[in-house]
């Protein structure tokens, strides 16, 4: 009797132990499965039922027996070739994109991955990682603060003149009051206009106004003359509302990825549509702006981007010399492109602007044998480091020929 009880207890204990150990083993398998899944499968498969590149794997154990899954993971092509109907349907459904075979996964490892998929779906659904909606294409209107300042100043000037006139008329009428020469039937405004007339008759005020007009007009003329041929602030509307802020800023795509010539050639190159398609074959396909790229590709037409930086033909400029040899960064001349919705010409690109930089910049001679002798000769009779101007950076014929 006692013995029997003991056996029962023993049995119960062993059963419990077995149960606990299997769950622990399963959990361990699932943990290993998670690492394996994230390293090898997550690039193409979701644990949910959402299709990524391949099908979502939620409930995969219900769809296929585990033996089939193991065979499939080990060699998908063999399963397809064996004429398995499910495999062939799957293969055709995903445009005959073959899955990478994983022959090195043991059966236990594959079971672990499946256990992880089940565990991930059993867990309370995590809030979907919100793909932040792309910032609206609303381009901020580029308003130069300098212009605002001028308008403010002129406004203040006008107010001051009005206040001056009003004050003068008040002083005038007060003095008249003091003289007790009351004139009847005269309104306040009449007095003001009368006073303004007398003010205009004053030769000092006349001269003042004339000088002011000359000064303001002169400044405007000089400003306008200096601005001739300078495109600073030019930010033309492009045929496709491409945002450098989104691509180069938020997604940190390197400038060189699209502007392929910037380290190698004279021009930085505007990317051809196939470079856009490297990402936009999958990203934001429905956007009307992206559709414009598809149309251009279908018709084999170029996209007519508007060139922003137009250096006159009379001056020679080479990107690679500045970026690759000189080691300048794009933003040194182009400004903070990664913050611009619409690209704007930030620098003046005048000759003075070029020369300024050539006077101040040290030659990037490190690791460049071409400059070794020049540096040596320069250092013989100079204590300042070799600047661009010392190697002909100010010579007319370097840029004008």
């Amino acid at each position: 009797m006692f013995c029997k009880k003991l056996t029962l207890v023993k049995f119960l204990f062993s059963f419990l132990f077995l149960l606990a150990s299997t769950t622990a083993m399963l959990a361990q398998d699932a943990a290993e499965g998670e690492t394996l899944f994230k390293n090898n499968c997550a690039a193409c498969h979701n644990t949910s039922d959402e299709t990524l590149v391949g099908p979502g794997l939620k409930g995969v154990t219900g769809r296929r027996p585990i033996e089939w899954i193991v065979k499939w993971v080990h060699n998908p092509q063999a399963v397809i070739a064996s004429g398995d109907k499910y495999a062939n349907d799957l293969y055709n459904k995903f445009n005959k994109a073959a899955m990478t075979p994983y022959p090195n996964f043991s059966e236990a490892q594959i079971k672990g991955i499946v256990a992880y998929i089940d565990a991930a779906n059993a867990a309370p659904a995590a809030p979907a990682a919100g793909a932040a909606p792309a910032a609206g294409a609303a381009a901020p209107t580029a308003q130069s603060s300098g212009g605002m300042m001028e308008v403010l100043l002129v406004g203040l000037l006008i107010i001051m003149v009005i206040v001056l006139i009003a004050l003068l008329s008040i002083v005038n009428s007060l003095s008249k009051l003091a003289k007790a020469e009351q004139e009847e039937g005269k309104s306040f405004f009449d007095t003001i206009s009368e006073n303004a007339k007398s003010l205009a008759a004053n030769s000092a005020v006349k001269t003042g106004i004339i000088v002011l007009v000359f000064l303001l007009g002169g400044k405007a003329t000089i400003d306008a003359a200096y601005g001739v041929g300078i495109h600073q602030g030019y930010a033309p509307e492009q045929p496709i509302k491409f945002s450098h802020k989104l691509h180069a800023g938020d997604n940190q795509i390197n400038c060189n990825y699209c502007h392929t010539g910037v380290y190698e050639g004279k021009g930085a190159n505007v990317p051809s549509a196939n470079i856009c398609m490297n990402c936009h074959n999958a990203i934001k396909r429905e956007s009307p702006e992206i559709q414009k790229i598809y149309k251009a590709l279908e018709k084999d037409e170029p996209i007519q981007w508007v060139r922003v930086h137009n250096l006159p033909d009379l001056a020679y400029f080479n990107h690679s010399q500045h970026t690759n040899v000189g080691g300048l960064e794009c933003k040194n001349c182009h400004g903070e492109i990664e913050k611009m919705e619409v690209v704007e010409q930030r620098s003046s690109l005048t000759m003075g602007w070029c020369i300024d930089c050539h006077r101040q910049t040290d030659v990037n001679a490190k690791g460049n044998a071409y400059y070794d002798k020049l540096v040596e000769v320069h250092n013989k009779d100079s204590k300042t480091p070799l600047k661009v101007q010392n190697i002909g950076g100010l010579e007319c014929s370097k840029c004008h020929y």
């Binding site: 193409c44 002129v154 041929g229 930010a235």
Partner: protein, 202 residues
């Protein structure tokens, strides 16, 4: 009756008028001598209104390279490395885009895995690959979040792929990835191959 009020309004109007000549972002402003600014010869990235190229389609100044040609400018000279680059590129040109196994068997990186070459490869990797494949090749770049399906280099399937495989994938694409051969010179592709080998170990 040309009194001060008239004068004043004239002045105010004049200043306002001058200031209102503000900047239209679509306008380049006044140009003094456009015939000196614009190139007489055809510039690759310039297209002038009313003076477009009459020979090429759509008035473009650029043309596609002749099909099947290889730019020789980088491969002239006696340098053995240049010769190796040329040999690999000519060989790679004969391999069709769907035959990755040929590339795996035939192509070999002309560059040795020296620290300088790997560093140069890292630079190219950062420019052309990192935004999708991530800093350490874990497929976690910023663009990959939207693009999806970017693999991990150190995964079982990829940790042992060889020079030719990586070169072929960069050139012709594979799976989700589209061809990048038009953007990256073949020399730089070989540099990237070196760096990807480093990332496979991580």
């Amino acid at each position: 009756m040309f009194n001060s009020i008239h004068k004043f309004t004239l002045l105010a109007g004049l200043t306002a008028g001058l200031l209102s000549c503000g900047s239209d972002p679509n306008d380049t402003g006044t140009e003094f001598a456009p015939n000196m600014y614009n190139s007489v010869g055809y510039e690759p990235m310039t297209q002038l209104q009313g003076d477009t190229n009459k020979i090429n389609p759509y008035g473009m100044n650029m043309r596609l390279p002749v099909e099947g040609t290889v730019s020789r400018k980088k491969y002239t000279g006696a340098d053995s490395l240049k010769k190796a680059f040329l040999a690999q590129e000519l060989l790679a040109k004969t391999i069709p885009s769907d035959s990755i196994s040929y590339s795996e068997a035939l192509l070999k990186n002309p560059l040795a895995a020296t620290p300088e070459n790997i560093e140069a490869g890292k630079l190219q990797y950062e420019r052309f690959c990192q935004h999708c494949h991530g800093e350490a090749g874990k497929g976690d770049g910023l663009v990959a979040k939207a693009y999806k399906g970017v693999p991990v280099y150190s995964s079982d399937a990829l940790k042992d792929v060889n020079d030719g495989h990586i070169y072929h994938v960069i050139t012709h694409g594979k799976g989700r990835m589209w061809p990048h051969g038009s953007q990256i010179s073949s020399e730089n592709r070989w540099k990237i191959v070196l760096y990807v080998h480093e990332l496979q170990k991580q």
